[in-house]
């Protein structure tokens, strides 16, 4: 008993150490991905900066905005133009000379003050509850509705859920469990031609309200008796860009940096003129030789592959025609824009034309990068990786039970059934390879010249990757009427091919390593060669044969697995592995890896037990 | 090389013993209980002597030799080699050990095998090679210096191991049935060689054997041991004249001494519990 403990304790310690080492290893392998997620701006959440509507529209001439207002840093705008009339800025409030144009559309309450409907179409217009501004906000799940899907994942499952204009009731319309919302009825498929609206999916309201469809607003907290109004026209406080307005300067800077370069809804205005964010292409195509290009409009900023070109230094312009100093290569992109982003991180823009003195250069709306979606540090991003290159060790154990029970027992895809199928294939391969190996070994021992001629080529045959010939093998077998789906022959051939070699070598060596004295003894009894073979050679060969069968068992397993991956047979561990390679979860791959390794270990041990049973006299040092 | 004069009778010259064994016991732990390999051994060996340990299997003669060599440790009692503990003597490399098997390293040539102990003692290369050459000459194998061990016969390999044991001129030579695996004719030749070496170098030698003629022919004293438990039962001085020759084997005195040793052995068998 003590010996057993003595022998297993170190093993357990080493296994434990390997397990623990898995954690830093997993972190190490996942670090580059996590770091990328952290630093790649494309993976950051975005925030929209837009002109502020007043918090309070109760008082006729006073507007409160809630944040301190910088008189020079902004201006009051109405729609797409600066507000014409006089106004005074004081701290966070603005007083106007006269009444300001305010167009309000009331909502109709559909229920106890939570669901409201309007005839207007949903827009960016602010919503006021009893004259106070409400903030919208919602969380959208990753999954898209397809008419059949009922499960949608959210970051939290408490709160208010809406779908297609309706407030969902827990227990009646849905159930929640651990971050997954399960609807009673599937979310309907989006059939309209226009791009899918966010509210086609179930939404979780995170702000004060959310638009649940084109005409419906649902509040997070019901406010019975409240008056909800949509402010179609209202003044707003917009940000003024920094930079000298002197008729010469063209460079202006936004307050917030980290601009999203691809923001198509960015609205930068000079007075009431909207500068478009998109670029226009020339009429002619670049061919590596041409230097003259015509644009739809004169003026504008020229961008070559995103970089602003300088008039005079890089090109000449005459009206709408531009002549470059260097010909344009075919791969380059030349765009004409109303303004160019000089430095997205700093929020610096270059306008096409210098605004005249006294103009207002302001921004109505633009998007900036907020923060990484995955977390604040590399470690957090590591933990939130959707796919870890190497899973954390304990996941393999926690995910194993669900892996086994994923498919029911009767199905071919059930793991245990797959294991059984592969084990069967391995056994057949081992037996066939063993038969061939033993036969060849016997042949080699009896006919020495044959061994000399064939042995180098038997060795060479092992360097041939038989696996490549599996498709060909399948075709040939099909020609002879043997279908792979029902036959175990391909497995037997491939696995047998991989295992016959070590068995041949080992058995031949064993059959030869008989003690000369033992042979002499047999000769003194005038035994026939067959008797010598079976009574002496075979026994002395057994240790070698068993040792080589262990190697052969491992090889047969590899052969069986490979034939399962290559043939179109949808059974076995090989098939499962292939499936997971193409689609799957890393933890599942590791589980399959352990299962297949365990199967290999089991087979090798089984050979060892067979040896102890059949050749008990062999002494292991 | 040590040359020490011996008187005609071969009796030890009066001086402090070079090896002293006092009340030494050795037991081995095993599954079935303790095995007493050696019990109450007492022995003193003077410088320049040739002492044989003889006895049946299990009498502890190899054990005693290994204890002196510090290849095993005593359970109780004291052994002094040149006035030091066996361990210190071993670390000071005071003796050379010749095993039952030649124990040559297959990957070294004959000469390099002889050089092995000298390499371990950081002897400079030129001197090392010179010494090894000399020793191979001494054992008559200088022609095989560049051969590998497997190319030599058993007797030759054993000669190489003797040359190796002498390579660093130890004052003591411990030999454990070195000629056991050889045939009679080769053995007698080897015995003559060994005696010649002993005379030329004056090395104190302790020689384990189970052959009575060998023990009588080679030694100045024979230590008779018996088994169960292993112990020393008799110490017989041999007064055969030196140098011993082929004729010595046929002399009457030789026969008498051999008979005496044989009787001592038989007596110890009978006395065994």
């Amino acid at each position: 008993m003590r010996r057993l403990l003595e022998n297993t304790f170190p093993l357990l310690v080493v296994l434990g150490a390997v397990f623990l080492l898995g954690y830093p290893f997993s972190y190490l392998m996942g670090y580059p991905l996590a770091q990328n997620n952290l630093e790649d701006r494309n993976r950051w959440s975005q925030q929209i900066v837009e002109a502020l509507p007043p918090l309070d529209i109760g008082a006729p001439a006073a507007l409160r905005f809630g944040t301190p207002l910088e008189p020079d840093g902004g201006l009051l705008v109405l729609g797409n133009a600066p507000y014409a009339a006089e106004y005074a800025v004081q701290a966070d409030a603005i007083t106007l000379a006269g009444a300001y144009p305010l167009v309000l559309d009331p909502f109709t309450a559909l229920d106890e003050g939570q669901t409201f409907r309007t005839d207007q179409v949903a827009s960016e217009s602010p919503v006021y509850l009893d004259k106070r501004l409400l903030k919208p906000g919602y969380e959208k799940p990753l999954e898209k509705p397809d008419g059949q899907r009922v499960g949608f994942s959210f970051s939290a499952t408490d709160g208010v859920f809406v779908l297609r204009g309706r407030l969902l009731v827990q227990g009646v319309d849905y159930e929640v469990q651990e971050g997954v919302l399960t609807l009673k009825e599937p979310a309907p498929l989006w059939l309209a031609l226009r791009p899918e609206a966010d509210w086609a999916r179930p939404l979780r309201i995170t702000g004060d309200y959310a638009w649940a469809d084109d005409h419906t607003v649902i509040l997070q907290q019901p406010k019975p008796g409240a008056r909800l109004e949509l402010a179609e026209t209202v003044v707003r406080w917009a940000e003024r860009l920094a930079g000298g307005v002197d008729g010469i300067n063209r460079t202006f800077t936004l307050v917030h940096g980290k601009l999203v370069p691809s923001d198509a809804q960015r609205q930068i205005l000079v007075n009431d003129q909207l500068l478009r964010a998109d670029g226009r292409r020339a009429l002619e195509r670049a061919d590596g030789v041409r230097r003259q290009f015509t644009f739809p409009e004169p003026g504008g900023v020229l961008l070559l592959d995103g970089k602003a070109l300088e008039l005079g230094r890089d090109y000449e312009q005459a009206g709408a025609t531009v002549t470059l100093n260097e010909p344009l290569s075919r791969r380059s992109q030349l765009l004409q824009q109303d303004y160019a982003i000089l430095d997205a991180d700093a929020g610096q823009l270059l306008l096409a034309q210098a605004p005249a003195p006294g103009s207002a250069v302001w921004a109505r709306r633009y998007a900036v990068y907020d923060k990484p979606k995955c977390g604040a540090t590399v470690f957090e991003c590591f933990l939130s990786l959707p796919q870890h290159p190497v899973p954390l060790p304990h996941w393999i154990f926690t995910k194993a039970p669900s892996f086994v029970t994923r498919f029911e027992w009767a199905s071919d895809r059930n793991v245990l059934r797959e294991v059984w199928y592969t084990a069967r294939g391995t056994l057949v391969a081992l037996l066939s390879g063993g038969a061939v190996g033993l036969f060849l070994a016997g042949l080699f021992v009896l006919i020495r010249p044959l061994e000399r001629a064939m042995l180098p080529w038997v060795i060479a045959s092992q360097t041939v990757p038989i696996i490549a010939l599996v498709p060909m093998l399948v075709l040939i077998l099909a020609n002879f009427g043997i279908r792979i789906q029902t036959s175990i022959l391909p497995t037997a051939i491939i696995g047998g091919y991989l295992s016959f070699f070590p068995i041949t070598i080992g058995a031949a060596k064993g059959l030869r390593s008989v003690e000369p004295l033992a042979l002499d003894l047999m000769h003194s009894y005038a035994a026939s060669p067959w008797q010598v073979f079976f009574k002496v050679r075979v026994y002395s060969a057994l240790p070698f044969i068993f040792a080589s069968f262990k190697v052969g068992a491992a090889a047969s397993l590899v052969g069986a697995l490979i034939s399962e991956t290559e043939t179109s047979n949808a059974k076995g561990l090989g098939f499962a592995i292939l499936g997971q390679v193409q689609a799957g979860n890393v933890a599942d791959l590791w589980i399959l890896f352990f299962i297949s390794s365990l199967l290999g270990i089991l087979f090798v041990s089984a050979v060892g037990w067979a040896e102890r049973l059949l050749a008990p006299w062999v002494r292991k040092i | 090389m040590n040359k020490r004069p011996l008187d005609e009778q071969g009796a030890p010259a009066p001086a402090a013993p070079i090896i002293s064994v006092r009340n030494v016991n050795k037991s081995f732990l095993s599954k079935g209980g303790d095995i007493v390999a050696l019990q109450g051994a007492n022995l003193e060996v003077a410088d320049g002597e040739f002492v044989s340990l003889i006895g049946p299997s299990g009498c502890g003669k190899t054990t005693l030799l290994r204890l002196i060599a510090d290849l095993d440790q005593v359970t109780s009692g004291q052994i002094l080699v040149k006035g030091k503990t066996p361990e210190k003597a071993r670390l000071d490399r005071d003796y050379g050990y010749v095993f039952q098997a030649p124990v040559l390293y297959e990957w070294r040539t004959v000469k390099r095998n002889v050089e092995l102990p000298l390499e371990l003692m950081n002897v400079p290369k030129a001197r090392r090679q010179h010494l090894a050459g000399q020793l191979l000459e001494l054992v008559g194998l200088e022609r095989f210096a560049k051969h590998y061990p497997w190319q030599l016969s058993g007797g030759m390999q054993q000669r190489v191991s003797i040359a190796r044991a002498l390579s660093f001129s130890p004052s003591i030579l411990l030999m454990d049935e070195p000629f056991g695996a050889l045939d009679e004719i080769t053995r007698e030749q080897m015995q003559m060689e060994l005696l010649r070496l002993w005379r030329d170098t004056g090395t104190t030698t302790i020689f384990v054997t189970h052959s009575i003629p060998e023990a009588v022919f080679l030694s100045t004293r024979v230590v008779v041991m018996s088994a169960r438990p292993g112990r020393i039962t008799d110490i017989i001085p041999l007064d055969l004249p030196q140098p011993r020759t082929v004729e010595t084997r046929e002399s009457a005195r030789f026969f008498e001494l051999a008979t005496r040793v044989r009787e001592a052995l038989r007596r110890s068998e009978k006395d065994a519990p």
Binding site: V13, P389, A468, M472, A554, L561 | Y97
Partner: protein, 376 residues
């Protein structure tokens, strides 16, 4: 003058074949051009002549003539196909072709029982038979595919494969450079070095021996099919994952064998060192390491074979850039270009053989003293 029975059988077959139909619609070889059947008759006559002698040179001659005869028969058949005679080969062709091979086999059996240890005899007995086998194999392969008119999409001919080899060897070399040098060699070197290092550490700690060795033995039974995908996920689909496969596959056999070699020592040799009061460093360098070398090389040889196959197989299993021997094999097999597949396989096998023999040569240089090199 002893008759070589087997060779005579070959002669008879050859004769019979000359009289039978060679392709559909012909009565015999007589319809072929004279330059085809004249040499064949001559060769058959020579076969007969050579079979009557028992000197080694006669056997060598017989062997060469047998192969030549089969080759000429094959060429004659091909030219008949080119001249318009269609269809699969008739029994006449098979008999004559087979006759040549039988003559060759007869010569081989006589050669392989030659007695003597002089260089010439050794050359004839030990070297010639294995060297002849591939020639016979290729002739038979070509004859079967050509004679039975097997379409290339089913099984390519030797000549097809050869065509691919000479026309696209630069592509194959580029593939090999990627597969072998970047993936196999780097993985092998790292795996072997790590194996030796860990082996040294484990050998000297009983605790680690008990704890680590069973794991190592168990893990040498890891199927590549399970290992490759997880490494592909861990290291990405480029060459690093395949090199990682190579590292793992070479690591385990080396560790196990190095530990075995360091501790499986004759106890008397250790006692010898102890009697010389040798320090641990001396014992390591002068006894344990040289003793372990044969074991190490055993592992190196095994690993050298396994590592190449494992990398090629992992190229199948880890989808990556379409270069490399494994990818070439996989892609060509899937698109039915079996001639390319075979050409690549031949290339890979050649590399494997060279690799193995380099290690074996190194083994012979460094451990020539070992008992396995002595003649029994």
């Amino acid at each position: 003058m002893k008759l070589n029975v087997v060779a005579l059988l070959g002669v008879l077959l050859g004769l019979a074949g000359m009289l039978g139909p060679w392709s559909s619609g012909t009565l015999g070889l007589n319809e072929a051009a004279a330059w085809e059947w004249v040499p064949l008759w001559a060769l058959i006559a020579l076969w007969l002549l050579a079979s009557f002698f028992k000197r080694p040179w006669a056997h060598v001659l017989s062997l060469t003539l047998g192969l030549a005869g089969s080759l000429v028969a094959l060429l004659a058949f091909k030219s008949m196909l080119a001249a318009g005679h269609a269809g699969p080969a008739g029994w006449g062709f098979w008999c004559t072709f087979g006759g040549g091979l039988v003559v060759t086999v007869g010569a081989l059996t006589k050669l392989s029982v030659l007695q003597g240890t002089d260089r010439v005899t050794r050359l004839l007995r030990d070297f010639l038979p294995p060297a002849t086998v591939p020639f016979m194999l290729f002739l038979a392969w070509e004859a079967v595919t050509e004679g039975m008119r097997i379409p290339m999409a089913f099984f390519p001919r030797v000549s097809d494969v050869y065509q691919v080899l000479i026309s696209s060897y630069d592509v194959l070399i580029a593939d090999s450079a990627r597969t072998v040098f970047k993936q196999v060699l780097s993985g092998y070197v790292i795996g072997v070095s790590a194996g030796v290092f860990v082996g040294l550490v484990v050998a000297f700690s009983l605790f680690l021996r008990r704890g680590f060795l069973p794991l190592a033995t168990a893990f040498s039974a890891i199927p590549i099919v399970g290992l490759a995908p997880v490494l592909g996920r861990a290291f990405g689909v480029d060459w690093e994952s395949k090199a990682a496969v190579a590292v793992i596959v070479s690591f385990f056999p080396v560790v196990i064998n190095v530990v075995q070699g360091l501790i499986t020592i004759d106890p008397l040799k250790l006692d010898l060192m102890r009697s010389y009061a040798a320090g641990r460093k001396h014992v390591l360098f002068k006894l344990r390491l040289p003793n372990a070398l044969p074991y190490l090389f055993n592992a190196l040889k095994i690993a050298s074979i396994i590592v190449l196959i494992s990398v090629i197989v992992s190229e199948f299993l880890i989808p990556g850039p379409p270069q490399g021997l494994g990818q070439r094999i996989s892609l060509s097999a899937r698109s039915g270009r079996y001639d390319v597949t075979f050409a690549t396989i031949a290339f890979a096998s050649a590399i494997g053989i060279v690799f193995y023999n380099v290690i074996a040569l190194l083994e012979r240089l460094l451990t020539s003293w070992h008992s396995s090199f002595r003649q029994k």
